[in-house]
Amino acid sequence: DQQVKQNSPSLSVQEGRISILNCDYTNSMFDYFLWYKKYPAEGPTFLISISSIKDKNEDGRFTVFLNKSAKHLSLHIVPSQPGDSAVYFCAAKNTGKLIFGQGTTLQVKP
């Protein structure tokens, strides 16, 4: 049973445009959500997070939106840069451990 889902395996955008990565979850008890970025042959690195008491968190070019009623969160990257090309994982915290989605591969074309 996949509690955290990223239904788009890949996304391609032009440099300078907005990238929107989506994530859905099923467990309403999740109270904290995170986005991680992963380059090949490296471990995931933390990008941005949001508590369930908020609906938006912004950090520079990255903004995460949370819609609790829809059990949906999204990561917006604007403007997108070629260095943003990586695999993006959303994760939900559940009693200490993280439940990850399958990941979305973002390609930003120059």
Binding site: L34, F46, F100, G101
Partner: protein
């Protein structure tokens, strides 16, 4: 300071052999986690250690998998009688404390290939 380190970076083994994977967390981090990523899949939780508490083993896929954490620092993940489906990248992470808002810092992973 140093990040999370894992060894070996790559391990190739034959089906049926036992393997040990090592994780050195960030100094002072009390929480340690093991995940794995199989080809084309997301990260799958395996086990979680927090201080002296009993570990959360709820993600271990079978009794061939075990892990220990000695002295609250280094951890070893052991897979006995490896199978081809155990092939994956095994990732270790640590965090300062199990507070909800502490991020987990990941190591580079160990790529395990079972022939």
């Amino acid at each position: 300071g140093a990040g999370v380190s894992q060894s070996p970076s790559n391990k190739v083994t034959e089906k049926g052999k036992d393997v040990e994977l090592r994780c050195d967390p960030i100094s002072g981090h009390t929480a340690l986690y093991w995940y794995r990523q199989s080809l084309g899949q997301g990260l799958e939780f395996l086990i979680y250690f927090q201080g002296n508490s009993a570990p959360d083993k709820s993600g271990l896929p079978s009794d061939r998998f075990s892990a220990e954490r000695t002295g609250g620092s280094v951890s070893t993940l052991t897979i006995q009688r490896t199978q081809q489906e155990d092939s994956a990248v095994y990732l270790c992470a640590s965090s300062p404390a199990p507070l909800p808002y502490n991020e987990q810092f990941f190591g580079p992973g160990t790529r395990l290939t079972v022939l």
